[in-house]
Amino acid sequence: MLQLQAQATSVRRHAKRCIVIYCWGGISHMESWDPKPEALADLRGEFSAIQTATPGIRYCEHIPLMAQHSGKLAIVRSIYHRQGGHQQGMYTSMTGHDPPGGLKAKNRDNWPSLAAMISRFQDPRGGTPNAIRLPYNMYDNGTLMAGEYGGWLGSEYDPVLMKTPSGKSFQGVSRYTNRELDLTLQLDKSRILQRQRLQAQLERQVGSATDYDRLDRFRKMAADMLLGSAVREAYDLETENPRIRAMYGDHIGGQSMLLARRLTEAGVPVVQVCAGAGDLAGGGGDNWDTHRGHFSKMKDRLLPVFDRSVSALLTDLEQRGLLEETLVVALTDFGRTPKINNNGGRDHYPAVYSMALAGGGIRGGQVYGSSDSNGAHPERDACTPADFHATVLTAMGINIHTQLRDALDRPYEICSGQPLPLF
C-alpha cells in the first residue's frame, strides 16, 4: 500500500490548484500588460501607462488595482503564434498545439485543454470533479469552439461546466445550454437516495459494461455533489462574507472568480473562468474582440470588471495563505494590432502578445521577454503557447515529457514546449 502511495505521487508538487482565466476574443496587450506610451499616436492609443508596485514595471492605466499586485505577477510579453482566427488562436493558447484543419469542438482527436490536461494528473476525490469551467461555453457567432475540452484524453476529462449562480451578466451574447450544472436545484435528499437505491438494484441485475463506466462516473459525481459535498457548499455564494463578495464586484465576472476560489479551496484541482461574454457575436458585447470602439469599451466595460475581479482573487488567495499553492494564469487568443483601425478598434494580432501568471511558486514582480517599441514583434526571449504550457505544467509538478495514450493507444508526449524561467 505504501508503494501504491509512492507511485501515485512521485513528483514534488509546487502548486496544488490552478485557476485558468480566459480572456475570450483576444485582450489587447497594449491596453493591459504591455503599454507602449512612447509609440506614435496611431499606435499607442488613448491610454497611458502607470507605474506598478514593482519599480520599472508599467501596466496600462486602466488596471490600477492589478498594478498594486505586480509583486505577485509574472508577465510574459514575448509570446507569439501564427493563428489569426479566434477558433485557431484559442485552440493554440488553450492546448499549446497548432490546430488541425476543420476543427470541431467535440472531436476526440483534438488536444486537451490546459485545464483538462492538468486534471488528468490529479487524484480524484469523492464528489469532486477534476476540472470545472465557469460560467458558460465559448462560442463564435453561435458555433461552439474547440479547445476547452478533454480531447483525446476522453470524455471523462471534459471539464464540468458550471453556472455561476449570481452576478450581473456581461452585455452581449452568452449562451447557456441548460446543461450547465446548477447546484442550487432544490432536490429532496430522500429522492436522490431513493433513486440511487433503485439504480443499484438495476445494476445488480444488468451488470455494468466498461463503456458505461465513464458516464457512470459523472452521474455518481453529480449525485455526490447534490447530496452536499464540499463542492456544493462552495457553490453557495450566499454563505460568503458579504464584504468579500462586494470586493469581487456584483458582476458575473467577479462572482465567477469568487466561485473559482471557493471551488479550488474545496479541493477542485483546476477551475477555468471565461472572463467576458461567451459568444463573440462579431465583436458586439462585452468580450475582448474589440474591432470597433476599442478604447471606450476597454475603459468603461471590460477592464474595470477584469481589474477588480482578478485583483480581488489575488488579494483573497493571498490573505488565506492559498496563493503559494494556487497557480493563477490569464490566457487569451492573441493580442491586437498595434495600428488602430478606421473604426477606432484593434484587430487580431498573434505575432506578439502577453499572458500573465501568479502564485503557485511563480516568482512575482517580473516581466519575461519584451515586444518591440511598437508592440509588433517579440524583441527579447520570444516564446510560444507551448512554452507557456510547459511552464504551467511544471509549476503543477507535472513532467512535460510524460507520454499518454489516447483511446486508440496512440502515444502522445503531452507538451512540446520548454518551461520559461519564472520560478
Binding site: Q5, Q319, R320
Partner: protein
C-alpha cells in the same frame, strides 16, 4: 558477519516500514491523505478529514520526514499541537480556521525548518509572538482575521529576516453596495413608431453596443422581438404592465413590440446612445 549486518539492517528497515504503514493507515482512517514527495511526506486533513480531533493526531508522531501538514478547519485544539513538537522536518503547516490559540503556539517553537505557517482565522494574539520568534526560517506567516496587530507583525518581521507577515484586508473598509439604490436611467428616449404590419419594421444593422431600457406603460402584457439582420424575428421576452427590462442592443437595431397574441403594435430603432423605450399603447 557482513550478511548478518545487512540482514539486521533489512529487518530494522522492514520494522520501520511497517510502523510507517500503520501510522499511515491510522491517518487515512481519520480521513487524512498522505502523499509521498521527493523529500518526505505531505499530509492533509483539510478536505476529507475535518472531524480530526487532538488524539488522532498522535499517529503523525511516528512518521519521519513529514514536510507539510494541513489541519485547516479540523477540530484540533491547542492540546493537539503537542503531537507536532518532534516534526522538525516540517516546512509547511496549516492551522487556519481552527481553535488554536496562543497557548498552542508554544508547541511549535522547535519546528526550526518551518517556512510557511498559516494561522488565519484563529484566536492568536500578539502574545504568541515571542514563541514565533524562534522560527528563524519562517518566510510566510498568515494572520488575517486574528488579533495580531500591525505593530506586532512589523516587530516579528524585524526579528526574523526574510519573513513576510500577511495580515490581509481590513474588511471594514469594503463598502457593500446598496441593493435599493435606484439604477441609472438613460436620458435619451427612443421614438415609438406605431404599425400593425411587422414588415414595416426595418431589419437591424450593426453599430455600437448600447443598452435600451424598455418600460411598459400600457395596460396590457407586451412581447419584445428583435428584428434580425435578415428580417427574422427573435423573441427576447415579455413585459407585464409597468414592467421594465434592461436590454443589451446595438445602434441601428430594430425592436418590434407586439401584444401577447403577436399582433404588431409598433417598433423602435436604436440610436448611438443608451436610451429609454416607453410603450404607452
Amino acid at each position: 558477519m557482513k550478511q548478518l549486518v545487512s540482514l539486521l539492517l533489512l529487518i530494522s528497515l522492514a520494522t520501520l516500514l511497517v510502523a510507517d504503514e500503520n501510522a499511515i493507515d491510522a491517518i487515512e482512517k481519520s480521513g487524512g491523505k498522505v502523499y509521498r514527495v521527493d523529500d518526505g511526506l505531505e499530509i492533509e486533513f483539510h478536505l476529507s478529514g475535518r472531524n480530526l480531533r487532538d488524539a488522532q493526531l498522535a499517529a503523525i508522531k511516528q512518521l519521519a520526514g513529514v514536510t507539510a501538514l494541513n489541519l485547516k478547519r479540523t477540530k484540533i485544539t491547542d492540546a493537539g499541537l503537542q503531537h507536532l513538537q518532534g516534526l522538525t522536518s516540517l516546512e509547511i503547516l496549516h492551522l487556519e480556521q481552527t481553535a488554536v490559540s496562543d497557548k498552542g503556539i508554544v508547541h511549535l517553537a522547535k519546528l526550526e525548518n518551518l517556512r510557511y505557517l498559516n494561522l488565519y482565522g484563529t484566536s492568536v494574539t500578539d502574545s504568541a509572538l515571542p514563541q514565533l520568534q524562534h522560527l528563524k526560517r519562517l518566510e510566510r506567516l498568515y494572520v488575517w482575521k486574528t488579533k495580531i496587530t500591525a505593530q506586532g507583525a512589523v516587530a516579528l518581521e524585524k526579528a526574523i529576516p526574510g519573513l513576510r507577515v500577511i495580515r490581509g484586508l481590513n474588511l471594514d473598509t469594503v463598502v457593500i453596495p446598496d441593493p435599493n439604490q435606484p439604477v441609472e436611467r438613460p436620458t435619451a428616449t427612443l421614438k415609438f413608431i406605431p404599425t400593425v404590419n411587422a414588415a414595416d419594421a426595418p431589419r437591424s444593422l450593426t453599430g455600437e453596443n448600447i443598452e435600451v431600457l424598455f418600460e411598459n406603460k400600457s395596460k396590457n402584457k407586451i412581447k419584445l422581438y428583435w428584428v434580425g439582420y435578415s428580417n427574422e424575428l427573435k423573441l427576447y421576452g415579455e413585459l407585464d404592465p409597468n414592467g421594465i427590462r434592461r436590454q443589451n442592443s446595438y445602434e441601428n437595431n430594430t425592436w418590434l413590440i407586439t401584444d401577447s397574441k403577436d399582433n404588431p403594435l409598433g417598433y423602435f430603432v436604436c440610436g448611438a446612445r443608451p436610451a429609454v423605450a416607453v410603450i404607452t399603447e
